[in-house]
Structure formats: C-alpha cells, structure tokens
C-alpha cells in the first residue's frame, strides 16, 4: 500500500513537472514568434499576406560566404534613402523658388537651421559648415529609418547592428578626415603619440588608436540598443495578451504599448539628434586639438 501511494505521488509530480515544462515552452514560443517582428528576415509583411524576396545565390569573397538576398531591413533602408532624397530635393527646389519658405520647405529648413546653429557651430566652429552635408544626411537618414519602424508593417533598419555599424564606420572615416584636413597628416600622426617621450610610444600608440575606434563603436551600440530595446518592450507588452490567453486583459497592455509608442516617437528624434551631435563633437575635438 505504501509503495502504491508513493507511486501515485511520483506520477502526480511527474505530470506537474511535465505540464509546467510545456507551459514554459509555450510562453517561450510566443516570445520567439513575436521576436520575429524585430529580427531581420527575408520576407516583408503586407496587409493580409507575406511577400518573399527572390533568393540571390551567395557569393564567395576571400573564402567567406556572403548571402546577398534582400532582407526586410535592407528593403526599408532603401525606402528611407528614397524618401530622404525626394523630400530634401523637393524642399530645396521649393525654397529656391520662393523667398519665404512654406510647407515642406519650411519643415526641412527648421531642421537644417537648428543643426547648423545648435550642433555644428557650437561644436566645430565656422569650419564645420563644410561638413554640414554629411551631418545633415546622417540626421535625416537615421530619423527616417527610425520613424519608418513605427509605421504599421514597417521595420526599423537601425535595430540591425550591421546598419548602425555601417553608419558608425562612415562616422569614423569622417572624424579622421576632419582631423587630418585641419591638422595635416604629419600633425595627425604626431597626435597619435600623445606627446610623450619616445620610450613610452609602444604603450601610447595602441592606447590612442584604441581610443579612435571606441568612439564610433559606442555610437553604433547606442543607436542599435535604443531602437531594439523600445521595440522589444512593445512586443513584450503585446505578448502579455497571448500569455494570459484572454481578451479581457488586452486594454492594459495596449494602453501601455501606446504610451511606449509615443515615447518611441520621441526616441526616434532623440537618437538621430544624439548620433549627429556626437559625430560633430568628435569631429570638432579632432579639429581643435592642434590649437592647444
């Protein structure tokens, strides 16, 4: 009798463990399923359907297989580039025609003037004006990429670390170009030694070179983490409905998700501003250092 009771308890606990394991697996699956909306994929969603990109055979460069199939993030990156080009060209044409800017011309001009007066001139001085085209392109491109992720069926290209890495690579090149142009190549190399005795150069030069790389690396990670983080919060909130498996809980997560979405709208502007501002600050610091 004793053994049968034990057996019974054993069986019972087994079923308990099984059911909890299934439950855990299920809730995990919900999140994995929902995370597909954040991750890059080879399909885009259109209302009521999925659209698959035609596969392109991978190519081989230096023994590394590179899959060049167009993905969701690449697609929306192209769309944002297209939007930025069209909007700015139209705005520039309009502003050339009339002396008083109106409509879309006025909107773009507000941003351009703000970046010139509040970012470029305080950080880089009057010399920075000639780097304005690069900084403005960065700002508008990041802004449109961030905003397009908030449009239904859209995807945020900046929540892909490769995209932000590419932007940071361009920023890295521009920071070096600005410093070399202002100081001259000789002075630029001399600056890498940190101005110490030559016996310390083997330690100093790697430290300075490491410093050059970490600035854009921090830029890349900051943009990527901010854009991905916001989306994960929204997806998790919506996911709560599927975990509780009831419609009655829906109003609460949706109210929170709307709030976070409005915050995301602000973050989209803020991160574009911060990326541009820090790039111009680093360029300005590189340009300044010859003067002291």
């Amino acid at each position: 009798m004793n053994s049968s009771v034990l057996n019974n308890i054993d069986q019972h606990s087994n079923t308990l463990i099984d059911s909890s394991a299934i439950h855990a697996q299920h809730s995990e699956n919900v999140f994995v399923e929902l995370l597909h909306h954040i991750k890059d994929s080879k399909t885009i969603e259109v209302p009521f359907a999925h659209f698959e990109f035609p596969p392109i055979p991978p190519i081989n460069i230096f023994g590394i297989q590179i899959d060049l199939t167009i993905t969701r993030h690449v697609f929306f990156l192209w769309i944002s580039a297209f939007i930025v080009a069209i909007v700015t060209i139209v705005a520039a044409r309009k502003n050339l025609k009339s002396k008083v800017p109106k409509g879309i011309g006025n909107l773009v001009e507000v941003f351009v003037e703000y970046i010139r007066d509040e970012i470029v001139i305080p950080n880089m001085g009057k010399d920075g004006i000639k780097y304005m085209p690069y900084l403005l392109t960065t700002f508008f491109f990041i802004l449109v990429m961030n905003l397009i992720g908030l449009v239904p069926y859209g995807a945020t290209s900046t929540s892909n670390v490769s995209v932000t890495g590419g932007l940071a690579l361009i920023a890295f090149i521009m920071i070096q170009v600005a410093a070399i142009k202002k100081q001259g190549f000789k002075h630029y190399l001399a600056h890498l030694t940190g101005g110490v005795h030559w016996a310390l150069w083997p330690i100093m030069i790697p430290i300075e070179i490491l410093g050059l790389f970490t600035k854009p690396f921090a830029l890349c990670i900051r943009l990527f983490a901010n854009m991905t983080g916001g989306h994960i919060v929204i997806v998790s909130l919506i996911g709560l409905i599927f975990i509780f498996k009831t419609v009655w809980i829906a109003p609460i997560p949706i109210a929170f998700a709307v709030g976070i979405n409005i915050l995301e709208l602000f973050v989209a502007f803020l991160q574009a501003y911060i990326f541009t501002m820090l790039t111009s600050l680093f360029m300005g610091l590189g340009m300044q250092s010859s003067e002291h």
């Binding site: 509040e118 970012i119 490491l210 410093g211 970490t214 921090a218 501002m277």
Partner: protein
C-alpha cells in the same frame, strides 16, 4: 510640449551627452579588448593569459581616455564661459 521646452531639453542633452558618452566609451574599450584577447587566445591556444593582459590594457586605456576627455571638455566649457563673460 512647447517648442521652448524642446529647445531647453535639446540643450541639456548637448551639454550632458559628451560626459555620458565617456562612460560608454570606457566600458566599450574594456569589452572590445576582452573580445580581441579572447579571439587571439583561441587562435594561439594560450587561454586565458592574453585575454587577461588585453583586459588590463583596456582598463588602463579606458582610464587614460576618461581623464583626457574630461579635461578637454572642461577646458572647452571654461573657454565658452570666458567668452560669454567677455561678451557681457
């Protein structure tokens, strides 16, 4: 939210962001050197010595850049204050 509020917020970010960025850079230096050291260790099979060396190097480089950048930023803001004092 008024435009003047947004302007002052943007100004606050402009003033604070360089200092906030320094912290991230210091962490990034240690992480980058850790990954680099681990990668080299795996190639050469000398785990964990090069990794530890690289982390130490990353920490010292992080501190060096931390002090250098704070002093550069302080100098810059002091100059700005002087200029605005003279303009008054």
């Amino acid at each position: 939210m008024k435009i003047s509020d947004l302007n002052s917020l943007a100004k606050a970010y402009r003033e604070a962001m360089p200092y906030l960025a320094i912290g991230v850079q210091m962490a990034a230096m240690v992480v980058l050197m850790f990954l680099f050291g681990k990668w080299v260790d795996e190639k050469l099979g000398t785990y964990p010595w090069l990794m530890l060396l690289c982390i130490l190097f990353g920490i010292s480089a992080g501190f060096y850049h931390f002090f250098r950048q704070t002093s550069a930023l302080t100098r810059k803001s002091n100059e700005k204050e002087k200029q605005s004092d003279e303009n008054r």
